[in-house]
Structure formats: C-alpha cells, structure tokens
C-alpha cells in the first residue's frame, strides 16, 4: 500500500469530480467542493482530470508515503510540511519513500486538495470515488491507521521518477484561496420561487453582507444576516434541488446547496449561484463575508 494515514485531521475525504446524473435515484452529485483546485492539482501531475485526490478540511492531516511518489497540493493556503520542511503549494513535488507529509491549519481558504501521481485508488460507485457525507456512500472518511492505495499511472515506470513535463499539458492557472478578511462575491440568477418573497427580499439578498455560518459543510453553505421574508404561507411540495440553489427555510436565512446537497427539498429557492462561483464558496471560512451579485 502506498500511503499510511497517521492522523486524518478534522475531516479528510476521497473526492473526484463526483457522480452527477443519479439525482432521480436520490443520490447527490458529490465530488470535490472546490473543483477548480482538484483539477489544478491533477493537471500539475499529468493525472486524468477525474483522478481522485484528498479533500483536507482545515489541515491536521498527516500522511506517511511508503513508496516514492509525486504530489501536488492546491486549494487552501497554509504551512504544508514534508519531513518538517515547508513544501511549495500549487506545483508538482517529488517525494521519497518514508516521507511524512503534514498539513498545518490553512491561513487562506479551508480546503486543501492533495493529488498523487496515479490518483488515489478506492472502489468506485457509479463511476466515481467521491465520498458523499449526506448519503454516506463512497469511501469512508479517512481514519488513523488507514492505508491508501495509489492508482497506476498511464505512463511507463520512468515517469514515476520525474516531475511531469508541464509544458505539454494544459494546466489551469492557479487561483489563490480567498483572503478571509475580504468578502467573497458570488453571482446569482433569480430562482424558480423568487415570487414567494417580497420585493425587499431580493434587494436584501443582493445588497447585504452575509456571514458564513460555522454550521456550513459539504451539504450547504449556511448564511447569517437579516432574514428574507416569505409572502406565501402555503407548504411547497418537495421539488428537485440543483447545485447552487439558495433555499430559504422558515428562518429566512438561506443555505446555498453544495456538492452533497439533498436532491429534493421543500423550501422555496429564491436564487441560484453560478456554477463557477461555487468553488470560492467552498473556500469560505466561518464568519467570512459573502456578497451576492444579482
């Protein structure tokens, strides 16, 4: 086995690009919350885009590599150490057998992504190795003592000994993790139930500074602020929920549905966040300001 988990930190999950297309069976799409960061990590190594990596929430993860490997860490920014020395982020790094890789608490963002040459190997469910915290499907969260297998690379063995040639492949640009002292801006479209709210509510949604609640997780980003006001009192029969939906429960405080969201829900959706802006929300820290651009 290639990698031993010494300490999983608060939550480390195996994630790839998820399993969209099974919502009608009751299954969330799941997958890396910050897709762009995982895509970058895999591209830096020359891995296929859908290779599985680790999503490391708030650091704390400590791994020992039994065999030599090449890795890349993207997403959140903080002190990541190889055998006690600082490791550069957002680039491919070769590591020798026996190396200990350790993630400090992130200073920017909340989720690191670790890609390993060849990808993390785990059983697939419906084509994906993603861990889904809502349904509990997919690989279990990492625990101390776990061994992680690494997939075979498509290239010959010599590629294991060299950092991949980045000039050849299309590596997406590095997107810095958001500064926790600044607002994260997410663009929204009007949702299917915008008429269930008074006119003030839309204005309030797109003008006020929301705060990310510490109760946020992979299911949803919960927001705190002045509540939105519903003007229709009847019950909404459960309806399909899409990624990025801003669902408003009776409290008037919206939740943005992220990768492990329930596929149906019974509260009205006032707005939908643009797909490309969900990656930034995935890196928002509890207490950070969120602004919606309508």
């Amino acid at each position: 086995m290639g990698i031993v988990v010494m300490n999983p930190g608060p939550q480390t999950l195996v994630e790839d690009l998820g399993r969209p297309g099974y919502a009608a069976l009751g299954l969330s799409p799941s997958g890396a919350l910050d897709r762009q960061a995982l895509l970058l990590a895999n591209a830096l190594l020359g891995n296929p885009a859908d290779a599985a990596g680790l999503e490391v929430l708030l650091g704390g993860l400590r791994l020992r590599f039994v065999t030599a490997s090449t890795v890349a860490v993207t997403g959140a920014e903080g002190l990541v150490k190889l055998n006690g020395s600082e490791m550069p982020l957002n680039q491919a790094v070769r590591i020798a057998p026996g190396t200990v890789l350790e993630f400090g608490a992130p200073l920017f963002g909340v989720r690191y992504y670790l890609a390993v040459l060849g990808g993390i190997d785990a059983p697939r469910l419906l084509g994906s190795r993603s861990s889904d915290v809502l349904s509990g499907e997919g690989p279990a969260p990492l625990r101390a003592g776990d061994s992680l297998a690494v997939g075979r690379t498509g290239n010959d063995a010599s590629s294991l000994n060299s950092v991949p040639d980045r000039a050849g492949g299309a590596v997406p640009p590095v997107r810095r993790a958001p500064d926790p002292g600044q607002a994260i801006v997410a663009r929204v479209h009007r949702g299917p139930r915008v008429d269930w709210f008074d006119d003030e509510s839309w204005l309030r949604l797109v003008t006020q500074h929301w705060t990310l609640s510490p109760e946020s997780n992979r299911i949803g980003a919960r927001l705190l602020g002045r509540p939105l006001l519903r003007i229709r009192g009847e019950e909404l029969p459960s309806e399909g929920m899409a990624l990025g939906a801003l669902q408003v429960p009776p409290s008037g405080l919206p939740t943005v549905f992220l990768a492990d969201h329930p596929v149906t829900g019974g509260y009205p959706v006032i707005a939908v966040v643009r797909r490309g802006d969900l990656d930034l929300l995935a890196q928002a820290r509890p207490g950070q300001t969120i602004k919606f651009l309508g």
Binding site: Y22, A23, L25, G26, L125, P237, E239, G240, A242, R274
Partner: protein, 210 residues
C-alpha cells in the same frame, strides 16, 4: 394523446437548469415518462421528478439553454399504459408496528389493509429522502393516512410504510415518520450493482404477501 403546451410552466433555475411545474402528481408522472421514454436529450445531466415538478439540469457547454427549453416545451406526456418502466415484485411480511393503527384510521380490518396494499399496482413517482427510496402512488386513495405525529428515531431497513398518498420502503435504517405496515428482505439499494436502485421513477411495483 396530446396536451396543450400551457398545461405546464417552465420556471428559471440558474444557468444550467429549468424547473417544470405541473398541476398534479399524475401529470408529473406522465410528463416525466414522456421526457425519458426515448432516452434523454444531449447535454442533460439529471431529470428529477417530484410531487408537482420536474427539475432538468444540463451542461450549458454541451447544449444551449434554448435547446433544453424547446425540448421541455415540446415534450409529449405519456399515459401510464405506455409506461416504459420495469415491473418490480416485492415480497412483504405484513404486520408492521402501525398496521392496527392504520386499519383503525381507515375504518378497515388489518386484513383489508393488507389486501388493498398487495392488491394495488403502484407506480414509482419519484425518489428522494435517501438513495433508493421511491415514493409510490396508486390509482386510489383508500390507503391515505397521515404521517405519525411523532417520527420514530429509528426505522429499520426494509420497513414498508404509508404516508399521505404514498407508500414507500426504507432502503436503510433511518429516522422516519411513516406508518409501518410490514417488512421486506429485498435490498432497495445495493451500491455494488451497476443499477443500485431496485425501484426507479416510472417503475410499476406490486407487493406480494410473504
């Protein structure tokens, strides 16, 4: 069978989805069947039926929103007899914790509840709640009962229940408020199979007394 296009409404849902609103569940089932009977449209990711709606998500890099909107506008609802769903038979050991209470609520004997449940053909209208959980409806409301006023904290996997117009089977142990009238040994969800859900929207389900 033709429907006027104004019998459903297409609501906006961001840059990669639409929500189709229909007047009633039966119309949802027919509309969903019509949309999916010949496979899906290029670029469509999910088609999610629910109680009064069908959510359609798509990849805007593969298909423009206008193409999906036209597909949704031109859809031909398919009546039940033209259904392409599969037939699923499920053996049930009747006698769940709430069977007596359900019989009391309906003014029937326990035996009559069982023969009504096992004697009806159910259709999976939509899924949700947990992977593999299908909301089943039939062509009468003789088994319509309210949910339990206090949900149970643990309902065992395989429990067969009633709630409102629906019947359903718990794929896994979970909290739940449905009235339980029996149990089955069938696996509703098996993640190791290429088709993990035993019952999918559009399927017809027949309960057989074990």
């Amino acid at each position: 069978m033709s429907h006027s296009p104004d019998s459903w409404t297409i609501l906006p849902y961001g840059d990669s989805a639409f929500l189709v609103e229909l007047p009633e569940l039966e119309a949802v089932v027919a509309y969903y069947r019509g949309l999916t009977k010949d496979g899906s449209h290029a670029g469509v990711v999910d088609v999610v039926p629910a109680a009064r709606t069908v959510l359609v998500t798509f990849d805007p890099e593969v298909v423009p929103a206008s193409g999906i909107k036209a597909w949704l506008e031109d859809a031909q609802p398919a009546p039940a007899e033209l259904g392409t769903g599969r037939d699923v038979e499920i053996e049930v050991a009747y006698g769940g914790q709430d069977l007596a209470e359900v019989a009391g609520l309906l003014g029937l004997s326990e035996k009559e509840v069982v023969s009504l449940h096992a004697g009806s053909v159910w259709t999976a209208a939509f899924s949700g709640f947990a992977p593999g959980f299908a909301y089943l409806v039939t062509n009468h409301e003789k088994l319509r009962v309210p949910r339990r006023s206090t949900p149970r904290t643990v309902v065992p996997a395989g429990s067969v229940g009633l709630a409102g117009e629906f019947s359903g089977i718990y794929p896994r142990s979970s909290p739940g408020g449905w009235q339980l009238i029996g149990t089955t040994d069938r696996a509703l969800w098996d993640a190791s199979k290429p088709e993990p859900a035993l019952i999918r929207p559009g399927d017809r389900v027949k309960f057989v007394e074990a």
